[in-house]
């Protein structure tokens, strides 16, 4: 149960938008944490919401403990100071979207949000007094109840937040201003409080998993949520594996291969055609670089303080290098290591659309959307298909959106309009939605619990409360 500490100061709330129960004290300051497997997106909700600039108040903190080559352990935001990423090892507290290891997560949270004094640099994400802060924490759908309970107990007992709301991450996106994104006429409710979109189908494809969530008026239709256990991590590892088999052994270079993936990978809109083209251009022995699918990636060299970069493929580079200095190449070029990337570029992200390529018995994202809709009333299908929003890092892979829209159009009922849009900032979209929820005090207080309530009823009650059972 709760702590033995005296309860929050019985300050009378001054704002008029406070809930009717005067005894219920929910702190006005709201801190939002979108706890991604790769990045934590965190920051305070501003008092003047509803603008896209508020993203600047959001800080992205790597959600990992890293052991570098020289056996130094680096946490969270300190990762920015690492120069040598060779053989860096990662420990991530989040698995498949859920916080599993709170020991590691506490280190990262402590170091990021609680340790030290507020300074100019960390004032956007420093929590000086948790008792006077309401925390909005996102979670991935279909979490195991035991993990939910762990999260609640840590938030309320280890840090003791004054107010707390655990929300499904994808649903927060519905609070964003999405009408302009879909080109719909703006509703004339500028004066009224912020309301979530009516129907929105959120595709969230992140680092550790991908989910499809139908959101109705800001709440998830639970039966329609579908999950695919593939994300950016699997793509990186797959690329790593292929490259290691064909070229250099990169199995220990997760970070570098992640950068390679971000630099070169794209989703093909004509898989067979691209495969053919990559094969042909790999066989041609033309002189000089050419336009095509095949690219060279020059690996980073931490000793020379050089970052990795891409350049057009030069089929003769290898032959020239063999000749050494005679060929007239500079010492710089001779010393660099190059990965040649052909069909890896599109065969890797292809997994999200055809998981069968690695033998996984699961449908790809477009079919997942239909599976999700198939358990919902037919009357809603057209509304959801016309409002598909894609968030998460994988939305940034070139060609992803086109492919999803094309495939969905092909398999969806001909009557329905299919509109697929990428959120303006797919990585921070969920966080931003959280700030807009926080601006609607009435709604926020409906989904939150207070410190006092937690101390009174305990964590079992909190889990039931967030599940909507109490």
């Amino acid at each position: 149960m709760g702590t033995a500490k005296a309860r929050a100061p019985p300050r009378t709330p001054a704002t008029p938008t406070q809930p009717v129960e005067t005894s219920r004290y929910l702190p006005d300051k709201t801190f939002i944490i979108d706890n991604g497997a790769y990045m934590i997106k965190a920051g305070y909700a501003s008092d003047a919401p509803a603008s896209d600039e508020s993203v600047s108040a959001c800080s992205s903190i790597p959600n990992a403990l890293v052991k570098t080559r020289d056996n130094k352990i680096v946490i969270g935001a300190q990762l920015a100071t690492v120069n040598d990423w060779n053989e860096a090892m990662f420990r991530r507290p989040v698995e498949k979207g859920y916080v599993v290891n709170w020991e590691a997560e506490r280190e990262i949270w402590d170091q990021s949000f609680f340790d030290g004094k507020p300074t100019a640099r960390n004032r956007n994400y420093h929590i000086a007094d948790p008792e006077d802060t309401t925390l909005v924490l996102t979670e991935a759908p279909n979490a195991l109840p035991i993990l939910q309970r762990h999260a609640d107990e840590m938030v309320m007992e280890e840090w003791g937040f004054g107010g707390y709301a655990r929300c499904l991450g994808p649903t927060l996106n519905a609070w964003n201003e999405i009408h302009s994104l879909f080109g719909d006429p703006l509703s004339n409710t500028s004066g009224a409080s912020i309301l979530p979109a009516d129907c929105l189908l959120v595709v969230d494809s992140g680092y550790s998993h991908t989910t499809v969530t139908p959101v109705y008026k800001g709440h998830a239709l639970q039966r329609g949520i579908r999950r695919l256990d593939l994300g950016g991590k699997h793509l990186t590892n797959y690329l790593k594996e292929i490259v290691s088999m064909r070229q250099y052994n990169m199995l220990d270079e997760s970070y570098i291969m992640n950068e390679v993936k971000e630099a070169v990978c794209y989703v093909s809109n004509d898989f067979a055609g691209d495969l053919e083209q990559a094969w042909k251009s790999g066989r041609k022995r033309q002189s000089g670089p050419e336009e095509g699918i095949v690219l060279d990636y020059v690996l980073p060299d931490p000793n020379a303080n050089k970052k990795g970069f891409i350049r057009p493929h030069d089929p003769l580079l290898h032959a020239k290098k063999k000749k050494g200095a005679v060929s007239g190449l500079s010492a710089e070029v001779l010393s660099e290591d190059v990965l040649v990337l052909g069909n890896e570029r599109f065969a890797v992200p292809e997994l999200l659309f055809t998981p069968g390529d690695i033998g996984m018995k699961s449908a790809g994202i477009p079919d997942m959307i239909l599976q999700s809709l198939s358990v919902l009333p037919t009357g809603l299908h057209s509304a959801f298909l016309a409002n598909v929003l894609v968030v998460g890092g994988n939305a940034l892979i070139p060609g992803f959106m086109e492919r999803l829209e094309t495939e969905l159009r092909q398999i969806a009922s001909a009557e329905c309009v299919v509109r697929v849009r990428r959120a303006k900032d797919p990585v921070h979209s969920t966080w931003l939605g959280g700030t807009r929820l926080a601006a609607n005090r009435e709604e926020l207080s409906k989904v939150s619990i207070t410190r006092q309530e937690y101390q009174e009823y305990g964590s079992g009650w909190a889990v039931r409360r967030f599940a909507g059972l109490v």
């Binding site: 590691a104 699961s362 358990v375 057209s382």
Partner: protein, 255 residues
């Protein structure tokens, strides 16, 4: 051969293992003897088209892709110097709950196994499927009408198709306000006409071939019921394989 033990409802206190109850009769096991011992072992419950060796290889590959690091490394959290007395001072003492959570070294796999065992023992595996079962009821409600609509759209009336889609998008883009009003109006009276989406009137409305059609918007009561449903279990929410049974592609990875 089998040993079935009853599992108590209490969560297991020992980390790292759990009871996985055998749920009675398994058709694949029953089939095995007729197919011969070896094939029965190889093909048991693996969907038929791949051997269990292949299935294991695939499962291992997927598990490998799920790893953070290629090798197993222990990255301990750095020890804090007495938890910085000043920073910690304002906080309450570490509670037993917190201590238990921090000391837990369970992985997601462990938690999931516990969960599965709990679901299987408490409700005979029904809990996870509850949503899926109820789903078919709702789907069936509109199912017949969709089929009809699809058939209708197959007629070569392209103009109607355009008109229809325009109407549908008009209905959706009508933003929140009108939709909300109609919803509110018909909360108590669940009569059909109120829920018919308002389509743009046209001269073809009486023509059975060209008439625009849209399935009725579900009633508010139904939506409330859907919203109140509990979440599916983790495994029930995972995407299913394609029903069509398209054969998988195979590549030969050569350099």
């Amino acid at each position: 051969m089998f040993r079935v033990e009853l599992v108590s409802d209490t969560s297991t206190a020992t980390p790292g293992w759990s009871y996985a109850p055998t749920r009675g009769f398994d058709p694949t096991q029953a089939m095995a003897p007729t197919l011969g011992r070896k094939r029965g072992i190889r093909d048991a419950g693996k969907g038929g088209d791949i051997s269990s060796r292949q299935a294991n290889a695939i499962a291992r590959h997927i598990a490998e892709l799920d790893r953070e690091n290629q090798r197993d490394v222990a990255i301990p959290a750095p020890v804090k110097q007495a938890r910085e007395a000043g920073a910690r001072g304002t906080r309450a003492k570490t509670t037993s709950n917190v201590r238990r959570i921090l000391q837990s070294q369970k992985t997601f796999r462990n938690h999931l196994d516990d969960e599965e065992a709990a679901i299987a023992s408490s409700s005979g595996g029904v809990a996870g499927m509850q949503g899926a079962g109820g789903a078919s009821i709702v789907a069936a409600k509109g199912g017949r009408t969709t089929a009809a609509a699809v058939r209708r759209s197959a007629t070569p009336a392209s103009t109607a198709g355009v008109k229809r889609s325009a109407a549908v998008s008009g209905m959706i883009t009508g933003t929140s306000t009108p939709a909300r009003e109609t919803m509110d109006v018909e909360t108590d009276g669940d009569e059909e006409p109120a829920r018919k989406p308002k389509l743009i009137k046209s001269e073809y409305d009486n023509d059975p071939l060209l008439r625009s059609y849209a399935p009725p918007v579900p009633s508010d009561r139904l939506m409330q019921r859907l919203l109140a449903e509990p979440p599916l279990s983790y495994n029930a929410s995972r995407a299913k394989p394609l029903a069509a049974g398209r054969p998988g592609r195979h590549f030969c990875y050569s350099v």
